[in-house]
């Protein structure tokens, strides 16, 4: 099922069309919902203020949302639909790397700027001049998690449980294993177990993991799998800490996980609690509008879209020739320096679309809130 939502702009005014390739159904629908809410809020603010100013001319925003069902093949179709069918100037999304890596190939081949807000796998942007992202990479996140486990959780051995069919989980697990073994020697990752998407019973793998007595269990999975993994690990008698990655940070995690996830840590992009300045303003506006605290997906979508709009402003003028405008938008994106986002400052060096950003480590406290623990910068 592909649902397309068209929002017609004010009649008469010229518009800029941006496409969103997001998971509105499938395994992680909350991610798509958050992204859409965030984008809608941005669009309303900008259109209410008269639109985007490009070289003295005002353009209204038109956002097109296409559901990628959290499936790689649907993400490719959604990208084609947005780029070829809807003729968007730029595409925001997909969110997770499992979808962003294949969709990035399409966007790059069709010479259209894609900004992936939440995709951390290096392959998303690698050798793809048209693909950018608004977050850190897994080759940074993996070492951050390994260092945190070592220093703060005093772990000497670790176990990893991940979905081998997900580019994101597989890549991040490899980076974690590599850097943990650099710190503690070969063989310190005592168990490295896999499962495949849609599995719900992890008891066989967890039994193997628990027999190796790891100090910490690292599991870079999405919010729909984390509750099952954490609960089953506890039921099989694992008492150590369970460490997560940025995929944990959905607003829906605690509703599904409950008490089992309390006291655990994960690496993420931003912490809503204790935010200041523009970040706080974003959180408060979002909360007032939708009645919930935006998670990292919401914040990163906001940044990714805003960054694309800033690049459009920097273009100076829109020619009306789509392929020419897409090319000059790519140049404007690649030369973006010091963009002040709500999740950090982003710059591109002109060769690759990866900003250098800091990671935040968040603790899930006894009230189930994601509380700020520390910031790690590259």
């Amino acid at each position: 099922m592909v649902c397309v939502l068209l929002f017609a702009a004010a009649a008469g005014a010229e518009t800029i069309k941006i496409g969103f390739n997001i998971p509105l159904t499938g395994d992680i629908p909350k991610v798509g919902e958050m992204a859409k809410q965030s984008a809608e809020m941005l669009k309303e603010q900008i259109n209410a203020a008269g639109g985007v100013d490009v070289g003295g001319k005002k353009y209204m925003l038109e956002f097109v949302y296409v559901d990628n069902e959290t499936k790689p093949e649907s993400a490719v179709n959604a990208a084609l639909k947005l780029i070829e069918g809807e003729k968007v100037l730029a595409m925001v999304g997909p969110m997770g790397s499992g979808r962003a890596v294949p969709a990035g190939e399409v966007a790059n081949n069709l010479k259209t700027v894609m900004v992936a807000p939440w995709s951390t796998n290096p392959k998303t942007t690698l050798d793809r001049p048209y693909v950018f992202r608004a977050c850190f990479l897994d080759d940074f996140q993996g070492p951050v998690a390994a260092k945190f486990a070592t220093e703060q959780l005093s772990a000497k051995t670790a176990a990893v449980l991940f979905d081998v069919a997900q580019d994101y989980s597989k890549g991040l697990s490899e980076f974690f294993k590599k850097s943990f073994e650099e710190l503690h020697g070969a063989g310190s990752v005592v168990a490295y177990e896999t499962f495949t998407t849609k599995d719900v019973d992890f008891s066989a793998q967890l039994t193997k993991i628990i027999r190796t007595k790891p100090d910490v269990l690292f599991t870079p999975q999405y919010y729909n799998e984390v509750p099952l993994i954490v609960r089953q690990a506890r039921e099989l008698g694992f008492k150590g800490p369970i460490l997560g990655s940025d995929s944990w940070g959905s607003a829906e995690l605690m509703g599904l996980c409950g008490d089992d996830c309390k006291g655990q840590y994960f690496v993420t992009h931003y912490a809503a609690a204790g935010a200041k300045g523009a970040t706080k303003e974003f959180i408060d506006t979002f909360n007032a509008k939708y009645g919930q605290i935006p998670d990292d997906v919401g914040a990163l979508t906001w940044d990714a879209t805003n960054m694309a709009l800033a690049a459009i402003k920097n273009m100076g003028a829109l020619s009306g020739d789509l392929s020419k405008d897409r090319d000059s938008l790519r140049e404007a994106m690649a030369s973006m320096r010091g963009f002040e986002g709500i999740t950090g400052t982003m710059s591109f060096d002109g060769t690759i679309g990866d900003p250098a950003k800091c990671a935040v480590i968040v603790k899930i406290d006894d009230a189930g809130e994601f509380t700020y623990h520390e910031t790690v910068c590259p």
């Binding site: 629908p29 081998v164 599995d199 719900v200 019973d201 039994t207 039921e235 008698g237 829906e252 599904l256």
Partner: protein, 308 residues
Amino acid sequence: MLETIIQQGVNALQLGSYYSLIALGYCLVYGVLLLINFAHGDIFMVGAYIAFFCATAFLGHYGLIDAGMPGWIVLALTVPLTMLLTSGVGIFIERVAYRPLRLKGANRLYVVITALMMGIILQYGNLSMLGASRKAFPNLVPRVLFEIGGATVTSLKLASIVTCFLVFGLLQWIVTRTKIGMAMRAVSYDKFAVPLMGIPLDIVIVFTFFLGSSMAGLAGLLYAMNFPVLDPFMGALVGWKAFIAAVVGGIGDIRGAFIGGFLLAFLEVFVAATFSSELRDLISFTILLGILSWKPTGLFGKPRTTKI
């Protein structure tokens, strides 16, 4: 080492109890109507959602009753209500989707296709009514962990395993020892001669769907309690696997479905434990394929001869 084997054995017993409960439902309907009810996995999903709404309603989430009822009473009320409502869904599907085709004397192939479509309707009906967000099944009873021979078991896992054995015993008793069971076997033997003997065919068929769907509801409830993240497509994969288990066990024989479910679970768990989980489905289904090519009617199945 022994402890690990015992623990994996317990894991497999737990997983097998869901496969078996679902396979029993496939098997009952097939045994009586020779119809593969492909919607059964989705009836199981509906059962899990019904259990979710019953449990949360009894916990006072919708303001229908006051909150504060103890968890075990909620559970005691949820079990029969879930089974009843789910069997209602099963009977409804039989009534609107299968019976019209049966009365028109349609080929069984068309009924099977209808069943597949019914499954898809249930999945997407749920998706459009309740949205794609996951539902978290509430904790009804406190989790008690205890150790048996070095293996850690929860009270809930034990309850699932024991329930599955009880259900198997009950179904075996109904089918082999009661009058309605005899009628079910008679319908299976000759659907055209049975009404001539004064056996009400429709009642026997409705009763079969009642039994099969209430087992799916029970399986859905137990499954939701153990894997408390519900989504509209949760029944599809489990349903297929249970169906394969029923076929390998010998579809149409209750013992076959029961053993087949546990056989599949043991294969899956021990392959994942010995090799890597990427090889799990590959190896375990290759073994099942081997069993079928050795005994095409399944472990307990008997070849049927078609008389002309």
